[in-house]
Assembly symmetry: C2
């Protein structure tokens, strides 16, 4: 088992879905990632919050394997995001994004974080991703996420990140945008040419596609009757994926594939309730039972 380091947003989210509303709940990519990954291994969090992020908010990390030595608390307000989902949950509108303390964030890794072998660069400015990566001594496996905003706005810095990551975890639209290819097979090949040998494409309710030596691995998502709130599903997937990977002795193709199922299972729980609520009350027994469900979901005898 190896520890994992992540850098990304810790935030206050306000959101509205067809099933309800929540104001100022704890969210952020690095938060979802850390809580999910901590089911499998020790997590070292690099992020920044403001003075408004108090003890109550810190409780989401309480009793978990999340090291907070790298979580800076500075003057000002915590990152805030507000979004509203469409009636079928397939699209969302951002009402506002206030970077606040993230605007001047300069990540400095605690000495104890530097030798971390597994690194996940969540969706933040690629310059910050590079900055953090530079401070890690000899990373063994690095994965990153990104979004349309950086693909369009900071393509050169993003390309630099891509030359240094082993795996890129993005959604299908981002893969198309980054590669300029409408077809996902072609998009995957083009992105692999930019650096990441392993590409993991998130397709929301349709699951995940992963590139492999020969062809692909595909994990369907679990068909869910009640999705309360899709916020953080992708980051939860990434957390489960990287956490499982770091918990293994070696990164083999079979382990990567099981890690995808681990991420898919955690994400399927995350969306069942608002914010982090479902993950925070998730038991290891429930998680194991969903791993079993995922096996039944796709397995068949050879024809």
């Amino acid at each position: 088992m190896h520890p994992i380091l992540t850098v990304g947003s810790v935030a206050f989210d306000s959101l509205k879905t067809p099933f309800g509303e929540r104001s100022r709940i704890v969210g952020g990519a690095a938060t979802y990632f850390s809580v999910a990954a901590s089911f499998f291994t020790d997590v070292r969090l690099v992020a920044v919050v403001g003075e408004d992020f108090g003890e109550t908010e810190m409780e989401v990390f309480g009793g978990r394997r999340v090291d907070l030595a790298g979580l800076q608390r500075v003057d000002g307000e915590t990152f805030r995001w507000k979004g509203e989902y469409s009636s079928d949950l397939n699209s969302r509108e951002t009402i506002y994004t206030h970077l606040n303390v993230f605007e001047s964030f300069q990540p400095t890794l605690p000495e104890s974080y530097r030798p971390t072998p597994f690194v996940f660069l969540a969706n933040i400015h690629p310059a910050l991703q590079l900055d953090v990566l530079d401070q890690v001594e000899a990373p063994r496996f690095v994965a990153s996420d990104t979004m349309n905003f950086w693909i369009e706005g900071t393509p050169d810095e993003l390309r630099k990140v891509l030359t240094r990551v082993d795996a890129l975890v993005i959604n299908d639209e981002e893969a198309r945008q980054l590669s300029g290819e409408a077809n996902l097979v072609k998009a995957a090949r083009a992105i692999q040419g930019m650096g990441p040998k392993l590409l993991i494409i998130k397709r929301g309710e349709y699951g995940v596609l992963m590139t492999r030596e020969e062809g692909f691995f595909a994990a369907p998502a679990m068909p869910l009757e009640d999705v309360a709130d899709p916020t953080g599903a992708g980051d939860t997937f990434a957390g489960g994926f990287m956490g499982y990977l770091a918990s293994a002795d070696e990164v083999t193709e079979a382990v990567v594939i099981r890690a995808i199922i681990a991420g898919s299972a955690l994400a399927s729980f995350a969306v069942e309730d608002f914010g982090l609520d479902r993950l925070l009350r998730l038991t290891p027994e429930e998680l194991q039972s969903r791993f079993d469900y995922f096996k039944r979901l796709t397995h068949f005898e050879a024809l």
Copy 2:
């Protein structure tokens, strides 16, 4: 191994995709279905063509296990459809649909067809589906397809069909429309309440969902680099599915699941070229190799 009977359209298609155009090529739901199913079992075709459907066109059935005793040839023109696909192949516009000889089609089953144990009612007027079903002596397993046109236009007759089928094979949009439920889990349950115990939902490039006693079975589609023409993919899936099912001794859940893979594999070939071209030159070895690919596509060791 059991023979299978199908009723549906045999047609002339004209189509345009981003990769080319074809005029007046042989198509139709029952044609794709029959060619696909004939890889696994004997097919008995019930359909009608006009005088313009000659020996050359008949060649698509040549040397296959397709019984044409129920294929009527009457005065007039064969059913014609013309369609044009969007640049990403995700939608298509129908330029015209000329029912022609189908307008007055009265299916009469040859005596030899009556005891057929497996029946597939392809997408035609539900009254015709019922008419054919009434002429089968003691069907053991009946499946049907339908479309938005019948869901809206002939709901009562469609409901009658549904009370008499074991399986319904439709796409996700049709499932939502038929049930009035946006969520597919709820849609599936509502449709099962209308009759078919087994619901198979086609999701195009995302594969297939199947209801089962506990939860679902999900088969992702094969990620394809070059899709020349999606026409007939759904009917090819249904043909592979029902053909495989009929070729087995018993209809168990494990067999139904393998049948879904058989259908998915055949459909993945069908779209690689225009019309029936790829299916017509498909070898058993290629098909077996794709079954193996589908196994690698989704299988993983238990977590």
